[in-house]
Subunit: 205 residues, 2 copies
DNA sequence: CGTATAATGGACATAACGTTGATTAATGAC
DNA sequence: GTCATTAATCAACGTTATGTCCATTATACG
């Protein structure tokens, strides 16, 4: 007997459901449609949906997790050192380029899910992903003397900043290449936003 | 006859509904409860709810907008210069302190609505608020020569970073005072995340 | 006190939900 | 190509939530 994961009927059904999900999220946002709408758009029986997912939110979460998983596999492929935590913490560029390439691959869905009608939980997942896989490691290898800010706050600052730029990129039509975006983020993070903006004024702390 | 906005019955009903909203969002998240749950918790008739709000999302949006409005009024009070766009762009500190004080005032609701089960649209509103009222102005007064990054990306970076630190602050029990938080954000933004983390390495762009 | 109106209680039709069982159709293994 | 397996369909079910309605009661305000 065939594996559940390779049965063409299942693959096809799931693909149609997810395509319909993207369409409907684009049209009306996550709360704007019902399971019935979804199965009609996907052109499958409503009961079939419940054969694979518990509800709308279960579908969404599984779709999200697959994307994160996909990103992780892709990252591991390019950077096998990732498992053994050595090296490469010094070289965030390839990580960032990979990240943007992955996002670009799923651009339509990513834009929706990271948008104002998307899923805030996915933002958390994506920040967590960046933290674990590179941003956290980079920020943590600090000379503790100079670190006058709690590490968790610093990480929150950087991961959220990155997420925000990703969102801005998606919403403005992805004009720049993944590499350009990665370089931009590195520049701001290393030189500092104020310096990039050309603000010289000293702060009177 | 009395004004609709000052009738004690209306005030009371709305207050009970919003208290119940906070409770239920805390317990089950926005999608985890129904209007019936809400009105039972608020101890009012279900029909009464529809006298004031169209549905759950209408309630949420109106609650959000009132908070933003409240913040704006508070900011204007402290900084009347805000209307005429002069001065004070150089002094972001009081703006940030005010912001954190306002968030602290509505801490319970803010934590929920900015959390993983909250409303992503509110994040957009809050970033917009920061952009319009101070962060945008600060970032825009750049010497254009040194600005090698599109201004919109820079603003996205900074506003999102600020939002992320606010979220982290709310989720870790608000250990620091509004003033401490404001200073932390200024430090990171002006010196740069990498510098704060003590990373010296030059980038090979 | 008297008027205005907010809130209640009950009912209604409509729609979505999640599940079930019998049936049909497609798949993969041999 | 046959056959056993199982995915998908179809129709139906009870349950629950939705949004609206109206007659009635209770409260607020002048």
């Amino acid at each position: 007997m065939s594996d559940q994961k390779t049965d063409r009927r299942i693959i096809r059904t799931k693909r149609m459901i997810r395509d319909a999900l993207t369409d409907l999220m684009e049209e009306k946002g996550l709360e704007g449609f019902t399971v019935k709408d979804l199965t009609e758009k996907a052109d499958i029986n409503r009961g079939t949906f419940y054969l694979h997912y518990q509800d709308k939110y279960d579908l969404l979460e599984k779709s999200e997790n697959e994307i994160i998983e996909e990103m992780y596999e892709f990252l591991k492929e390019i950077n096998p050192d990732l498992i053994n935590q050595s090296g490469l913490q010094n070289e965030p560029l390839p990580f960032l380029v990979n990240l943007f390439e992955n996002i670009e691959k799923n651009a339509r869905f990513m834009k929706l899910i990271l948008g104002p009608k998307g899923d805030p939980a996915f933002q958390v997942k994506l920040k967590q992903f960046m933290k674990i896989n590179f941003l956290g490691k980079i920020m943590e290898k600090s000379n503790n003397e100079s670190l006058s800010v709690p590490i968790e706050q610093l990480i929150a600052y950087v991961t959220s900043a990155h997420l925000g730029v990703i969102q801005q990129w998606l919403n403005s039509g992805m004009q720049q290449s993944p590499r350009e975006m990665a370089l931009t983020l590195l520049k701001i993070t290393f030189y500092g936003p104020a310096h990039i903006a050309g603000i010289k004024k000293d702060l009177n702390f």
